[in-house]
Symmetry: C2
Subunit: 436 residues, 2 copies
């Protein structure tokens, strides 16, 4: 027991292994299928774009996968991240619930994305890769990979959706500061980009196009592989450092969550905090509700069927069994850009299907209202994505008050909103559609 | 001794008192003078704009001044801040010097400014003040006071220099998120503002004008006082939590700084880290070099004479004995907006005069070159102000290599650069004047 606001761990408490939930799952996941043959893909199908170490992790049945020393060493720049008891927020909400949050915004890039970026950069470096190519929308993932590549001594090439490149220059400058090369997508550097530009020289671009460009770049060069910031098993695996630390910290706090909440887009920050706790649930050691909070404008888990679909718009990736709104679905331009993905992590989709987790969808007006409450009580301004988790917390805290219960709520504070203040501006000025 | 990258303290290590250097000074400071009578001012002269508690602190000879429980409680949201051993930066510089930095950027507003904002808000609240008025240039101080007022339950009115209001909307939105009222200065709300607007309806504003407006606002309303973010003794006093924590952390690290560096504008972050170490130097317990790093474009300490001058452009504040470029001096528009002040803290000026500290001036081209090196090795992007300290560290680390010495260098990482990426953009694109 402690009355501290922040529960800190020492650097020796940084997890030594990633937790792999695969062997603990009640039923196994469906395999990804080859887009041509529709048969399960093998490692060789992924070898042109990913290093073998990550391909192995993607399908591993090992319960714990060791974190390399060099990755753990760089984690020490910001890990273990603090876990907070949100006493000021509780007071503002006047709730009997106890609210805790794990602060992943303390990483140099402002979000949890660096956890997997570092491991991916390391795995590529080990196999002689000199350069990573990736796509980015609003820029959170691109910044994280750029930072990781710089710290690991790799080059980094980022295809940034053109409309973001033009409208959100600061994330671009951040990537440049970390030494990355950034081009607006569609670009003239790839066939995929040139094909789009021929039809529409003023194309604003899309994440789907940028993915196609980054993959084409990686496939076309011996020194380059491709890197993805969410959705895949190995990405969620790397994020389990969050939940493992949080479990230790909750133990120090003398509590265990009754309700665990993360925002959900591709699934990586949600998986990162949830998977280590879900182990307790699967093993029958603990009973807790685990909730994924997604945007009402892109309600993948709450409205999308679970079926085989492509990961990209163009339909070139393997088919994955996941909750999806269809790979042709274009989410409305809501401010939580990081949650605008037509699909979801196959692993999260599987957990939902197994009844191990729940999903909730919220609209941005109510989400920003809760985000402002959080900022005004705890000081830190949430990213629009994180704000979905914050709003879910508010709803459950209010329910606790109505019902006279006092649940322990833990949520993942995945990122700060310093690069998203234009969204807050839209909220205050009334130009934001609250029901999108 | 520890090999940790981050040296953390527990919440019980947050200082219980501010350290007041006044009684330890070898010779006393010259008093501020009344602008009309030119005689030393008394408490009653400051009473219309500051609460009595802060006026007492301004002239106190008590060696330690207790930090109120409520302030310490809110400090726990981000304090104690970590102290880092910059091993990656040392490797990049290939220096035998050992480099440490105290990370004040971890506060919710991204800089050390919140340390004094909270204490000032608390002292005003105790005396029944309902509302604080202040000025802000680039917005760092305004954000900190807005956050502090929100957390303490006060209203906050910020006069923001119009050119910043228009060009740097994100800081404005941040203040709004914390519930503050913000107007571009010159405004129509004050006589001072209206007088400027009559002559020049398109006036871009200046810090001097904004100060005049904020003081007029405070003087004209019973429920309102004025708040200043640097320069004054009580502001530097509040910042000594930085140096006190850093001393404990250096002890854990098993080192003591041979060279201590802070950037210098008004003097608050420099004083905050330096004063507790200077006590050791004054008492003859330790020998160390203490260096204030300022912009070559606004070389107050290195080029300005030490003489009585006004704190504001209009010449309405008390006269203070300080190094100054003259209250009519308009610094060139360099990117480290927080260091663009014609004067300096009277306390820092006094320390320089006593030979207890040194000053160095650097130009922004070299400063940003060093800032990028830091970001590429340690991950965190420095604010342009902080980058001056970083550059001084680089120079001393290089000198150590040339001379074959291995000094312990400690510097204050006063703020991150997330709101200043346009400055990095100017640096990369070549539109920045490197010699300004």
């Amino acid at each position: 027991m402690t009355t501290d606001k922040k529960i800190m761990l020492s650097e020796s408490d940084i997890p030594t292994h990633y937790y792999n939930i695969a062997p603990d799952l009640p039923t196994p996941m469906e395999p990804p299928l080859h887009p041509g043959t529709k048969k399960p893909i093998g490692p060789e199908d992924l070898a042109p774009i990913f290093p073998m170490e990550l391909i192995k992790q993607e399908v591993s049945q090992e319960p714990m996968i060791e974190i390399p020393d060099e990755v753990r060493d760089i984690y020490r720049l910001y890990r273990p991240s603090p876990l907070y008891r949100a006493r000021h927020f509780e007071e503002m909400l006047d709730t009997p619930a106890k609210i805790y949050y794990k602060s992943e915004h303390v990483s140099p890039v402002g979000s949890h994305k660096l956890n997997t970026a570092l491991m991916q950069a390391w795995a590529n470096k080990q196999e002689g890769v000199k350069r990573l190519a990736t796509e980015t929308g609003a820029g959170q993932w691109g910044s994280a990979l750029a930072c990781a590549c710089q710290l690991m001594g790799l080059e980094c090439m980022v295809y940034m959706v053109r409309i973001s490149y033009d409208q959100k220059p600061y994330r671009r400058v951040m990537m440049k500061t970390y030494g990355a090369d950034i081009v607006p997508s569609p670009s003239k550097l790839t066939k995929a980009g040139r094909a789009i530009l021929e039809k529409d020289p003023d194309s604003p671009g899309s994440l789907g196009i940028a993915i196609s460009e980054a993959i084409e770049d990686a496939v076309g060069r011996d020194d380059t592989k491709y890197s993805l910031g969410s959705v895949l098993n190995h990405v969620l695996l790397h994020q389990t450092v969050i939940g493992q630390e949080a479990k230790k910290q909750m133990e120090i706090a003398g509590d265990y969550p009754d309700i665990l909440i993360g925002c959900h887009g591709g699934g990586s920050n949600f998986g990162g905090i949830a998977l280590p706790f879900l182990r307790d649930k699967i093993k029958g050691k603990k009973d807790l509700r685990v909730i994924a909070a997604e945007p009402g404008a892109c309600p993948t888990l709450t409205k999308g069927p679970r079926e085989y679909d492509f990961g990209d718009t163009a339909g070139t990736t393997p088919l994955m069994m996941m909750h999806t709104l269809g790979h042709g679905f274009v989410p409305p331009p809501v401010h939580a850009g990081g949650l605008r993905y037509h699909g979801s992590a196959p692993l999260v989709s599987h957990l939902l299907n197994e009844g191990l987790i729940e999903a909730e969808a919220y609209f941005q007006g109510e989400v920003f209202e809760s985000a402002v409450k959080f900022a005004q009580s705890e000081g830190t301004i949430p990213a629009p994505e994180t704000a979905h988790a914050v709003h879910s917390v508010v709803r459950h805290a209010e329910r606790a008050k109505e019902e006279g219960t006092s649940p322990v709520i833990l949520f993942n504070f995945s990122g700060h909103g310093h690069f998203d203040l234009s969204a807050y501006d839209a909220y205050f000025s009334g130009t934001m559609d609250p029901n999108a």
